[in-house]
């Protein structure tokens, strides 16, 4: 059909355009030039011979991985008449809500600036720069006075905004009727039901081996684990991103996880990447940002207090401070409903040539933000690699957890999916919790916003994040949240207050995620 052909041509053109600016393009060009020396490259069949050379030397695979990465991250090209904001978020009322929420954040940050008389950004004096460089690897030992700083917002503030989201075209009526949603989210986004989830997460089924279930000590490794590890090693040898993504749906062996995630995210530490990270480090040394204090405060309040993650405190500063200075992160705002905050150089208010983004990466951290980085510290110990992995995870997945959008992996859809699953498959529990004033989403929201980091044991968290990568979707977070409620349903039916319900669900550190997911999706009588 003509229409499909032109759609594919558009996608190809878009990907070619994106890859043209990348390191890979330069490398391929160099390789092509160098290959002309080789005896098998003949002038008469130049194009075919070079293509064959790329195939044999593994460069074609690298190109395939890059294309696959682009397809996974960037949305398909939209209608030619659609403006850029439509690509960020197609629904106008969601865009408006995101805009209002951002304005609130900006006001909050501005008032913090004015109250504390601290500039948003300043150049560090040379002495201070030297000092910071000297203690770069032990910034955690610093104990600056952060008492006056407060996080810009916490997840519960964000939840209130989501609860108040309304579609102006949706006739709901103020009084409760069969049309109003029983949960907190009142927008009619499309979410999957259990039959659709079973189809989507078919590899988590009862008849498929899983790491997290079939590698437990009681199960002989010959039944599943050994073969799965062997296949994993083969996937890594082939260096195929798409194969790795398919493989990891059944979980990753601990020894292979760091390499598999890097392959799926298409991260290879080239000298250019290490240099880029060093450049970011220089930016941190030279300029002091207000958000640095917010990052310090967040790390001190969350990761430093966590039994699993406090050892990585220094790594967290090294990643997050550099992240704030990374302008390449600005690219993801093309498909993020959020927009980077803007400011002007002092004294040049309103002059466009002096307009800048603040922070340079456009992302203002909130309470708990550092928990997105912490689990990665178990996998990567080289700062620039750790940094690259975190940045890619953020621009692929984590940004969706704190911006208002209609995307199926956006936090609004996840909340609605969670509530709908609970209402449909555990109606008695849902009704009971509502009656006692314990709307389930009020408890599970913080788990989903943090992708369960800091709530699950780390080995379980990494098994969960394996599946996020494998399915290129965050929906599994909502399914797990519902599965946790299902697991503790008996206790929850007996509580009579929100506080008691929260107490039942306060400690998730003993939970095993894969059995919970499997039972909820595939073994519950519906």
């Amino acid at each position: 059909m003509l229409q499909e052909e032109s759609d594919i041509s558009l996608i190809i053109a878009q990907i070619v355009q994106k890859l043209k600016g990348s390191n890979l393009y330069a490398q391929l060009e160099r390789q092509a030039w160098a290959s002309l020396q080789r005896p098998e490259i003949k002038l008469e069949s130049l194009k075919e011979d070079i293509k064959e050379f790329f195939k044999i030397s593994g460069w074609e695979k690298k190109l395939q991985n890059a294309v696959y990465s682009e397809l996974s991250v960037f949305p398909l090209p939209s209608h030619p008449a659609a403006p850029p904001e439509h690509l960020k978020e197609p629904l106008v009322y969601m865009r408006k809500a995101q805009g209002s929420w951002e304005k609130r954040i900006l006001k909050s940050l501005n008032s913090m600036c004015t109250e504390l008389s601290i500039p948003l950004a300043r150049k560090r004096p040379v002495g201070e720069q030297k000092e910071l460089l000297n203690k770069w690897n032990e910034m955690g030992t610093d104990e600056p006075d952060l008492s006056l700083f407060r996080p810009v917002y916490a997840p519960k503030d964000f939840l209130e905004v989501l609860i108040n989201l309304r579609n102006p075209n949706y006739e709901n009526g103020d009084s409760l009727s069969f049309r109003t949603h029983l949960g907190l989210i009142q927008v009619p986004l499309k979410v999957k039901d259990i039959p659709e989830l079973k189809e989507c997460f078919v590899e988590l089924g009862l008849n498929t081996g899983q790491l997290g279930i079939d590698d437990s000590t009681q199960v002989p490794p010959e039944l599943f684990e050994n073969e799965h590890v062997r296949i994993g090693q083969k996937v890594l040898a082939e260096q195929d991103s798409a194969a790795a993504q398919q493989y990891i749906r059944q979980g990753s062996p601990t020894a292979l996880r760091a390499e598999l995630w890097a392959l799926i995210l298409n991260i290879s530490s080239q000298p250019e990447d290490i240099l880029y990270y060093e450049q970011l480090k220089t930016n941190v040394i030279q300029h002091d940002l207000l958000v640095d204090s917010l990052i310090y405060k967040d790390v001190k309040l969350t990761a430093s207090n966590d039994d699993y993650y406090f050892v990585f405190e220094d790594y967290l500063y090294q990643v997050l401070l550099c992240f704030s200075r990374d302008t390449s992160v600005l690219n993801h705002f093309a498909y993020n409903s959020a927009s980077p905050p803007k400011s002007y150089i002092r004294g040049k208010l309103g002059l466009e040539e002096y307009a800048v983004f603040y922070p340079p990466n456009g992302v203002i951290p909130f309470h708990g933000f550092s928990m997105y980085v912490a689990p990665l510290c178990f996998l990567y110990h080289e700062p620039s690699k750790l940094y690259q992995i975190f940045r890619e995870m953020y621009v692929r997945f984590f940004f969706r957890l704190h911006s208002i959008s209609s995307h199926p992996s956006g936090i609004v859809s996840l909340c609605l999916l969670f509530e709908t699953l609970l209402q449909t498959y555990l109606p008695q529990l849902f009704y009971h919790l509502r009656e006692i004033g314990a709307q389930p989403l009020r408890i599970s929201f913080k788990w989903m916003v943090r992708a369960f980091s800091g709530y699950l044991a780390t080995d379980q968290l990494l098994l969960l994040w394996d599946r996020i990568l494998g399915y290129n979707s965050l929906e599994i977070l909502a399914v797990l949240a519902a599965a946790v409620f299902a697991f503790r349903a008996v206790n929850l039916m007996e509580v009579t207050s929100l506080a008691a319900a929260e107490a039942v669900l306060a400690d998730l550190s003993t939970l095993k995620v894969m059995p919970l997911l499997q039972i909820f999706l595939f073994a519950t009588v519906t």
Partner: protein, 175 residues
């Protein structure tokens, strides 16, 4: 053959409803939009583009003039084309849509619109030459592609967040 937009006049929506609009409480599910073309010059309609706002299904009917003597009749070109796969959810609710003439199975679009003027004779299609309508649509696709590539900038890493080494900022801007 270049593509231009045809000026058209889009009238306000009229609800199709049984009974008295004022007294009945039910909300109509079908709305009709009349589109007229004020220009009298003949044209060949290739594409209709619009932005949806919560319409689930679309039908298009055209009034066809065949000759000077027979009365014009209404022909359905598109029936119940689905714009929203699940009308009670947001999927497709605010999407941009294009309908192309080849999607209309009866292919009555171009024929009635591209009526030749009194002095023109229809050009006979010579053997071996490509069908002009197919060529024109392929040319349009290439045009759209080149427009897109021209419009997008090369993704070179800029890296600098300061202005001439200066990053002293006052407050965030609300615009």
């Amino acid at each position: 053959m270049s593509r231009v937009s045809v000026p058209c006049h889009v009238k306000g929506t009229v609800a199709l409803q049984v009974g008295d609009v004022r007294t009945s409480h039910g909300r109509p599910g079908v709305l009709v939009i009349d589109v007229t073309f004020p220009s009298v010059a003949p044209f060949e309609l290739q594409e209709i583009t619009f932005k949806n706002y919560y319409t689930a299904f679309l039908s298009i009917r055209v009034r066809q003039h065949t000759s000077m003597h027979t009365p014009a009749k209404w022909v359905t070109c598109l029936r119940d084309y689905c714009l929203m796969p699940d009308p009670h959810s947001e999927e497709g609710a605010q999407e941009y849509v294009s309908l192309f003439k080849h999607q209309s199975p009866s292919m009555t679009f171009p024929k009635w619109l591209s009526h030749p003027g009194p002095c023109e004779q229809p050009v006979p299609l010579l053997e071996g030459l490509p069908d002009p309508s197919r060529v024109s649509s392929e040319v349009q696709q290439m045009w759209a592609l080149t427009e897109m590539i021209r419009a997008s900038h090369t993704s070179a890493r800029i890296g600098r967040f300061d202005v001439d080494g200066c990053y002293d900022l006052n407050l965030l801007s609300y615009t």
